[in-house]
Symmetry: C2
């Protein structure tokens, strides 16, 4: 039931994500990070190397083909905007097409944009991804945002997301080697900087929690630091955790166990390179040479789903 005054209205991003995870019976998310140089040779040679326009076209076709392979298997894709932005306005056009295609195939789309700015500038960024009638240039179900500027800089994203029935994932603890430098500084309150941010995320998540107990504001917490994952699951019981770092960045299914609630909800786990470029991994090369790189994408996704099912609470979904 909806608790009065909670700000929860249906449909609600936290609920949509819970339904999608339960429907697909997996928290696996496929990351669309279409690095031009890593694309299958057939797409690169068709495009030629000299025009951003043709590269943007190839990137679009690559992502759509990945979506075709994974649409029935996973609840969502995470699209990395940087690899489209590096191809200029044409690349940003491809980003819009890929988002539209993935949504049309029934996937939730998280745009990993890591945007952050103040006041009306944050509103302008938010407008690029969220509109109540889904007419934004890049209509996302959720985007990632950077909290360094303060919570007044995050609020415009939350408001725009809510009006569009979308969600926001706040960077809390990232997966890179340098993440501890500023994020883990211990404050005089006796806790790391990231925990201050996590506590704010929890207030926002709790205030918007729906039937599943999960709100429309979540947190990015890297899989490469399991101790922080466990701590932050405890600090943010109402927040969806978006967990990058699985696969190519080194984390395994066992390391993401602490991200989940006991019912298998509460976290989605992203793998990008390990899936979309699976045809480059030794274990998928034979399959790929027989049935194409697309078959490797599908098999790597199925393998990730099976691993998460075997080793984490996601097996209870």
């Amino acid at each position: 039931m909806t608790s009065p005054g909670s700000g929860y209205r249906s449909p609600h991003f936290g609920e949509k994500l819970a339904l999608a995870v339960k429907a697909k019976r997996t928290p696996a998310v496929v990351g669309l990070d279409p690095r031009w140089r890593e694309l299958p040779d057939e797409l690169r040679s068709q495009a030629g190397h000299d025009s951003r326009e043709s590269q943007a076209e190839a990137v679009c076709r690559f992502c759509e083909a990945v979506v075709d392979q994974v649409a029935e298997l996973v609840p969502a894709v995470k699209v990395q905007s940087a690899f489209f932005e590096s191809l200029g306005p044409e690349g940003m056009g491809s980003l819009a097409r890929v988002i539209g295609y993935a949504r049309q195939r029934g996937l939730l789309v998280i745009v990993d944009a890591k945007r952050g700015d103040i006041g009306s500038t944050a509103e302008a960024y938010a407008k690029a991804y969220f509109a109540p009638d889904q007419t934004a240039p890049w209509p996302a179900d959720a985007i990632t945002v950077n909290p360094y500027l303060g919570t007044d800089a995050l609020q415009p994203f939350l408001e725009a997301a809510r009006a569009a029935e979308g969600g926001v994932f706040v960077l809390v603890r990232t997966s890179n080697p340098g993440a501890p430098e500023f994020q883990d500084l211990t404050t005089v309150a006796g806790k790391p900087v990231y925990r201050h941010i996590a506590e704010w995320v929890e207030t926002q998540a709790a205030a918007t929690a729906g039937h599943s107990g999960l709100g429309m504001v979540g947190a990015v917490v890297g899989a490469t630091y399991p101790a922080q994952l466990e701590e932050l699951r405890g600090v943010m019981p109402h927040a969806w955790l978006l967990v990058p770092g699985y696969g190519a960045q080194g984390a395994t299914a066992k390391e993401v166990v602490p991200a989940f609630r006991s019912d298998g909800l509460g976290a989605i786990v992203n793998s990008s390179r390990g899936i979309i470029f699976a045809f480059r991994r030794p274990e998928y090369q034979s399959l790929s040479s027989q049935r194409g790189w697309q078959a490797a994408v599908r098999k790597a996704t199925e393998d990730m789903i099976a691993e998460l099912r075997e080793h984490t609470p996601a097996g209870r979904l």
Copy 2:
């Protein structure tokens, strides 16, 4: 003279900025924040309100007209990417055209993108703004970046900038009311989070310092917090400070005094709304109605330059 091993090569962003500030005898920077709703009526009515394409076109013409007014007066413009991004791929096309136009008119262009991501993703973002041959989609002289992810996430931006003879401004202490929430948390080392970041910026600025003593890595420090401005000038003697918050955000010339070295170099001061939308300010409405909104842009720029000259060390330039 170049100190051996300093990484300094000519031309160098810190030097280019020093030369431009000295040539124009002002540290005033005009911020191109083309909020669609604030544009002059004549541009909005020509464009119509219903198509992002026509809005992007109007935004482009507005910015180019501002550049025409200020190109002889100031060393640089700061372009706010959010207001282009909110207009979709067409808006991002306009951003490229505005950057090209401003550079052609002899202005340095700082793209206020506040990007930040890890590893090869940061490389992809950097490629969007920096290329050694100036063939990047949005060729910037400098961009702003967000440090929350750690210094390994900043390095790809520094490397790409250096190869393109560009610069990077790291967000250290922003100008918004919520800036203190996370940036000012005191760590067990007895200093605020932003100072940890400032100290890293100083190492990078010192390592790349040129003839002027200023490097290719600078810092964003808001004008709305004069005490932090003074502290951070001391902490980062080799860093250019990019100081937002002047004018519409409330800071005056007297408040930005601590940002400068005694010779008037070391800081650039940005005003956006107060200049580009000066025609909406009571003191410029008579001028604007007689000679057009463009005349108000020019007069507001001249007034800002005069105020900085009168009240700050910029008078010694």
